[in-house]
Subunit: 159 residues, 2 copies
């Protein structure tokens, strides 16, 4: 039987994959035209949420020490700026490709991490701070981003 | 320094409390009238999501072995039935009270659980199944419901 450390990693990683799968099923069911619509009147469009989630997940690659991120160009339009601040810099079709590439890179990276590695610090916390706050580990980052995904998934389903 | 088991419990329980707090801040900022509106045209109303989350959290009390649930009367209108299936059986004001009572009961119950207890089975899984699937523990149930909360929180913010 798995020990608590292995079990904890399994719980959080499984929850991540479950939400990625649900989101992928939804995205496949939505047309590009639907993703260009607002989730509610005056609120973010589907394309913005897709780009936003892709940018946040892309940053996880470096935060978790899994290599170089793939799409730093998404930070400006999908993290720094709100929706419709400028002309769209990527099409829905391109964002779908980025989304899949980034999540595939993460999934592959996850397989290289041992249970112990998940309890080491992520790259947004210093060694000094981690010594004082040992809960700021890689698993916590994944847990945080998994909730972030669920939050926006609850919005994309409204399209 | 905490061991991985204690740390894992802290991560998931902290994440739960963070989302409850965010949701409470939002609910305080929303008027009863706002909560009677739809989150998007033709979609669930805020009152339904508040009742739905309260019912799901209320069921957690028994699933986690923390005592008797407080509001079983919410299951019919907020779990079995979709929004607007019948006349509202509770006011927004009543649901706000139930919401706070249920989450307070859960928070108090959490303090009685040791890290080891979080890794024991929850009451929706049999002993036989738990022997085969040891990840179906109380911590996993909390993790699941925490994502469920984030999902609907992402919808309530649209009000």
């Amino acid at each position: 039987m798995a020990n608590p450390q292995e079990l904890s990693v399994k719980l959080v990683v499984d929850m991540w994959h479950t939400h990625i799968q649900r989101c992928n099923q939804l995205l496949e069911a939505l047309s590009d035209e639907q993703l260009l619509r607002e989730i509610a009147p005056g609120k973010n469009r589907g394309i913005y949420l897709l780009g936003h989630l892709t940018a946040v997940h892309d940053r996880m690659i470096t935060l978790l020490g899994l290599g170089e991120r793939l799409c730093p160009q998404l930070d400006g339009p999908f993290l720094s700026q709100p929706d419709r601040a400028a002309e769209d810099t990527a099409t829905v079709s391109e964002l779908r490709e980025y989304w899949n590439a980034v999540n595939t890179a993460l999934a592959e990276g996850f397989t290289t991490l041992t249970p112990e590695a998940w309890f080491q610090r992520h790259n947004a916390v210093s060694e000094e701070d981690f010594a004082k706050e040992p809960h700021r580990n890689k698993l916590n980052l994944l847990l945080n981003r998994s909730h972030h995904l669920a939050y926006h998934f609850g919005q994309i389903v409204l399209l």
